[in-house]
């Protein structure tokens, strides 16, 4: 009798536990869009019925690279956890397209304490298949074109900026041709300054790795080619170029995995720094960033650049005169079951009252506010 009571209690307990814990949704993708997704997820009634408990690591606030939100989904029951690791748009598309093969790391359950841990990295992570991803470009412009993701939605427009560090070049505008020449890896400052004597120091691009949608757009929109290998450098926040291979190679297909980390290096003054790539003293760096990360870089001493003579403004994006932007997408993995927690979250986030409603008009722009459209980074905007 006692035994059957124990078994009954155990079954009841397990049932209660499953009722309380509705499941976990795993999300990855665009670092440039993470702030906007954060705003959508914390707003009561958008995805969760009430303000969720939020645990954040590596960045702090809406800039964190690791996020976890716990609450009851609209239309759901029990507690659902949405874990996010912002791995870059290309990483996100790969994660969901190949989620039977590829995993991403997320904050471990044991660390979910509803606290913002600032710049600390999570001391414990779990690997999981990804259900949802954000991307700054359509799948047709991605490295991962197959398998085609059948469930996707356009949820806004993501904006980008070019910035420069306080280096030898002191200009305020950059053109497509200058960007392309810098991406080849041997670009004397004269190409940027127009001054015939500026031939002893060089302008480099510091950018993102090939998991980044910001990179897809920077290379695609400039006409360099999305899949053309860039020659990029990485410097630290003191302006020292990094030898990432350990073999004395300071430039190559390098790039930061996070826009926030890249932004943190761009305040470095390199007017007197050693140039280990082409020799000499002093060099200059230009970089491409999401608008939020560009603000961080500018706060550290970087300078915003106009693009092809047009200074960034929301109006310039909306009317199609400023060209460095693309559509933002949310993707659902093909194996997510209809009506599951992940599918419910996708449904809420993809509504016009979802992520789109939280586009702040600068870092991201609502689709309904746009007066022009584009298919992707290899096409020009078309005014409505």
């Amino acid at each position: 009798m006692k035994m059957s009571k124990s078994i009954l209690a155990a079954i009841l307990g397990l049932s209660m536990a499953s009722l309380c814990n509705a499941g976990t949704v795993y999300m990855s993708g665009s670092t440039a869009m993470r702030g906007t997704v954060y705003s959508a997820l914390i707003n009561p009634g958008t995805v969760f019925t009430a303000a969720p408990a939020i645990t954040l690591y590596q960045g702090g606030g809406s800039s964190a690279n690791y996020m976890a939100f716990q609450g009851t989904l609209v239309g759901g029951s029990g507690t659902t956890t949405i874990k996010c690791h912002w791995s870059g748009s290309e990483g996100g598309i790969l994660d969901v397209a190949s989620n039977t093969v590829v995993t991403e790391t997320f904050i471990a359950d044991s660390l979910l304490d509803g606290t913002d841990h600032g710049t600390n990295v999570p001391s414990s992570t779990e690997s999981a298949n990804v259900n949802l991803a954000m991307a700054d470009n359509a799948q047709q412009f991605s490295r991962t074109k197959n398998p085609t993701l059948s469930k996707k939605a356009k949820v806004g427009v993501i904006t980008f900026k070019w910035v420069r560090n306080p280096g030898k070049w002191t200009g305020t505008n950059v053109t497509d041709s200058q960007i392309r020449q810098a991406l080849y890896g041997y670009c004397p400052r004269a190409v940027f300054s127009g001054n015939s004597t500026d031939t002893s120091d060089f302008v480099y691009v510091s950018g993102r790795d090939n998991q980044s949608g910001t990179r897809v757009n920077a290379l695609g929109i400039s006409g360099y080619g999305i899949f053309t290998l860039p020659t990029q450098i990485e410097m630290n926040s003191s302006g020292v170029m990094q030898d990432l291979t350990g073999g004395g190679v300071y430039a190559g297909d390098y790039g930061f995995s996070s826009g926030g980390t890249l932004a943190g290096t761009l305040g470095a003054d390199t007017t007197s720094a050693t140039d280990p790539v082409n020799g000499g003293t002093g060099y200059s760096v230009i970089a491409y960033l999401g608008v939020g990360d560009a603000t961080t870089a500018i706060g550290k001493g970087a300078v915003e650049l106009a693009y092809d003579g047009v200074t960034f403004s929301p109006a310039a994006v909306i009317e199609g005169s400023y060209n460095f932007w693309d559509n933002e997408y949310i993707f659902e993995a093909n194996n997510v079951a209809s009506g599951s927690e992940a599918d419910k979250a996708y449904g809420r986030l993809s509504l016009t009252t979802g992520i789109n409603a939280f586009c702040d008009g600068t870092k991201a722009i609502k689709l309904t506010d746009m007066h022009c459209t584009r298919t992707g980074p290899t096409s020009d905007p078309s005014h409505n």
Partner: protein, 230 residues
């Protein structure tokens, strides 16, 4: 991040799904690569090895790689390569017979090298004997890089010369050193109907001299023999 990439690569390799998802890009090693395209379907690209290791009469049996082409007579093919050898920046390119353009300087060579490195990024592993198949509409296919591409970063636009010939014929290989010097004819590649590629080096001047000397010696010996017989 590196660990994550390694993990992904290992996992993909283990499951044999690397072609389905993002493959690990090989770093270009400066080898000569030969590409084949009919400008539709899939292109084939093969690593021939370093230019410095070429020997006259060397052959490559590519019959199985080229079996996807219905006829080799309609296939466009050519050989290109680039290498920075301790500051001497070399470009190699075949042509249908014309002398290709010089490479003005480091900036120009960097463009050519970028184009070839971008083609090479689709190899799973770097090294002589490696090959790949890629859709001919991909920006880094042989077709788009050397014939039809519109990007400034693609080989046909960066260098300006088409390295291809069509069908069962030979292709002249030139070496070009960045800095404006004249291209040097190094030899030729020939493709036969079995899918075998053969390299024949241009004899060096000393070789010409040796042949000429041997010829004169033979004539002299023959004359002496005739005089004795008379």
């Amino acid at each position: 991040m590196i660990m994550k990439k390694l993990y992904r690569t290992a996992l993909l390799a283990a499951l044999g799904l690397a072609s389905m998802v993002t493959a690990q890009a090989a770093t270009y090693n400066g080898d000569l690569i030969v590409g084949f395209t009919t400008q539709s379907g899939s292109d084939v690209i093969y690593d021939l090895g370093a230019e410095s290791s070429l020997t006259s009469g060397e052959t490559w049996n590519l019959s199985s790689l080229l079996s996807g082409f219905s006829s080799l007579s309609g296939v466009n093919w050519g050989v290109i390569g680039a290498q920075n050898n301790s500051g001497t920046r070399n470009l190699w390119s075949t042509t249908s017979g014309f002398t290709p353009d010089p490479v003005a300087g480091i900036a120009a060579w960097n463009k050519d090298n970028t184009a070839i490195a971008s083609i090479y990024s689709n190899f799973g592993i770097a090294g002589a004997g490696q090959s790949l198949s890629i859709t001919s509409t991909d920006d880094n296919s042989w077709n788009m890089q050397t014939i039809n591409g519109s990007l400034g970063a693609q080989f046909i636009n960066a260098y300006g010369n088409n390295p291809n010939v069509q069908g069962l014929t030979s292709d002249s290989l030139y070496g070009i050193v960045a800095g404006g010097s004249d291209p040097t004819l190094l030899g030729s590649f020939a493709l036969d109907n079995t899918g075998t590629l053969t390299f024949t080096a241009v004899p060096e001047p000393i070789t010409f001299g040796a042949f000429a000397g041997a010829g004169l010696l033979l004539v002299s010996l023959r004359n002496q023999l005739r005089r004795k017989q008379a």
